[in-house]
Amino acid sequence: MQTGRVRFEGLEKVYPDGTEALGRCDLTVGGAEMVAIVGPSGCGKSTLLRIASGLEPGSAGRATTEGTVGFVFQDATLLPWRSVERNVELGAELLGVGRAERQARVADAIDLVGLGAFRHHRPAALSGGMRMRVSLARALVLRPDVFLFDEPFGALDEITRERLNEELLRIFELRPFAGLFVTHNVSEAVFLATRVLVMSPRPGRITHDVAVPFPFPRDPELRYTPEFARLAGDISRALRAEAATTASRA
């Protein structure tokens, strides 16, 4: 089984206007691992993903990403003039994957996210959840070794979010990858991840690295077990403590 790897060594990020987005970050994510990152707004979670994907450079330290990268953005970022099928095709098309190969992968990815009946629809005709599935399928087409998720389900309602979480886990088990999943939602983080990282407020540093011991496949009912609640509670407390330190500093 071959998956990719993301490695940050002493990574820092300062924007040209002087804003310190990231403090020193050291992290290795590799193998079939899903790492969730939680932290207060503006702590540099998204910046971490942008650096890992190569969209932005770091200011100091090193960031290396090995393998094909799939990125799922906060919004579905679909092209409104393209059908579901043509949107899913986009990444592979831009990377120059041959037509026949591309079409096979597109059909496969669309089936994987359960949008077979909507392949010819335009994004405007889809619900928010369905649009996010298209976005997910578009990244899946690349057969990513490294999968970066920037709060992809943040704008969805609770039920849709939970259902998409379950589907994402199913995909993770089927096609393992090294995943970095940024979220505000602790329950989502615990349900999805093998590790949860807690970040401090800006300049963001990784303050807690919590292993999630639940085995795969994970049942949706896991969310209602006392063990789950305890772990989610611990992480929430850590998050709140971080927020409190900043508040006292301010």
Binding site: F73, T77, L95, R122, A124, S127
Partner: protein
């Protein structure tokens, strides 16, 4: 009634029957059918048609009863305009030929404006320094008083078709440049990220992202410019009188002859030409980008 709970008549038992209606499904069945739609369209068309009838009636009264007969040439009645301007075969043919000539000039003008305007916008969208160098001149083009440069255009390009087209382009190109440039530059940064992530070249980004994303804004520019181009063509008719006479030149001739009926017919048909062009581009826009708008019932 806006949906919700509708209390119906009391039944013999004395218990009011309550009909719960769902606002999303309680639309009258006729609104869904073709006949229902036609009826709704008729209902919408009613008020403007009524207004037109009232105005035409007042116009007739003013012309036939309020004006003295020797001053009636100032405002001939609608029927007289219709009779002399359109029913009369000679006049009708003369005016329609003029409108057609004007339409041809406007059409060539809009096509050239689109090609040149979009090209300029694309070039400007590629680098800030190009935009900074070119854009001020596009603005200057907009501020040049056409009347003042007419003699120059005549000297350089002659007094016929070419010069008329040039006036159309000068008047019509600006909205195409600005709207296209706005559309090309207003692409969602997240979509740019997506293309960066997949190492898209500048050309690919332009072809697969910026141009299609800019289409709605571009079509809006085309529509405004098409209307301006018709106006430009009529203005040009006044100055460049060689070759096929356009409707602008006819209007000038009718003015000199005090032929108010033909004059009014020519003005009405010119407006109609502008309307048709405006509508045609609106339709083209709906055809090209209409399916991007969210449909009802999706979120």
């Amino acid at each position: 009634m806006t949906g919700g709970v509708d209390v119906a008549t009391m039944e013999p038992t004395g218990i009011p029957s309550v009909i719960v209606t769902d606002p999303t499904t309680s639309a009258l069945p006729t609104e869904r059918t073709g006949a229902g739609r036609r009826l709704a369209r008729l209902r919408r068309a009613g008020p403007p048609i009524t207004l037109a009838v009232v105005v035409l009636g007042m116009w007739t009264i003013a012309s036939d009863h309020l004006l003295q007969p020797q001053r009636r040439f100032l405002l001939p009645s609608p029927l007289a305009v219709l009779r002399i301007g359109l029913v009369d075969a000679h006049n009708r043919s003369e005016i329609l030929h003029g409108v057609w000539s004007t339409a041809q000039v406007a059409f060539v003008g809009i096509v050239i404006s689109i090609v040149v305007g979009v090209t300029l916008a694309v070039v400007m969208s590629q680098a800030r320094w190009i935009e900074d160098s070119v854009y001020p001149y596009a603005v200057v083009l907009q501020t040049i008083p056409i009347l003042a440069v007419v003699p120059l255009i005549g000297y350089w390009f002659g007094f016929e078709f070419r010069s008329r087209v040039l006036v159309c382009v000068m008047i019509g190109i600006f909205p195409i440049i600005t709207n296209s440039l706005f559309g090309l530059k207003a692409v969602d940064p997240a979509l740019h990220d997506l293309f960066t992530l997949h190492r898209a070249s500048r050309m690919t980004r332009l072809r697969k992202l910026q141009l299609p994303a800019a289409l709605p804004a571009m079509f809006e520019g085309f529509r405004i410019s098409a209307g301006l181009s018709v106006i430009g063509s009529i203005i040009a008719d006044f100055f460049f009188r060689q070759g096929n006479p356009g409707v602008g030149r006819l209007i000038d001739v009718y003015r000199q002859r005090l032929a108010t009926e033909q004059l009014m017919t020519a003005v009405l048909l010119s407006s109609l030409l502008g309307l048709v062009v405006f509508w045609a581009f609106g339709w083209l826009s709906t055809w090209a980008v209409g399916n991007r708008r969210p449909r009802k019932g999706t979120a």
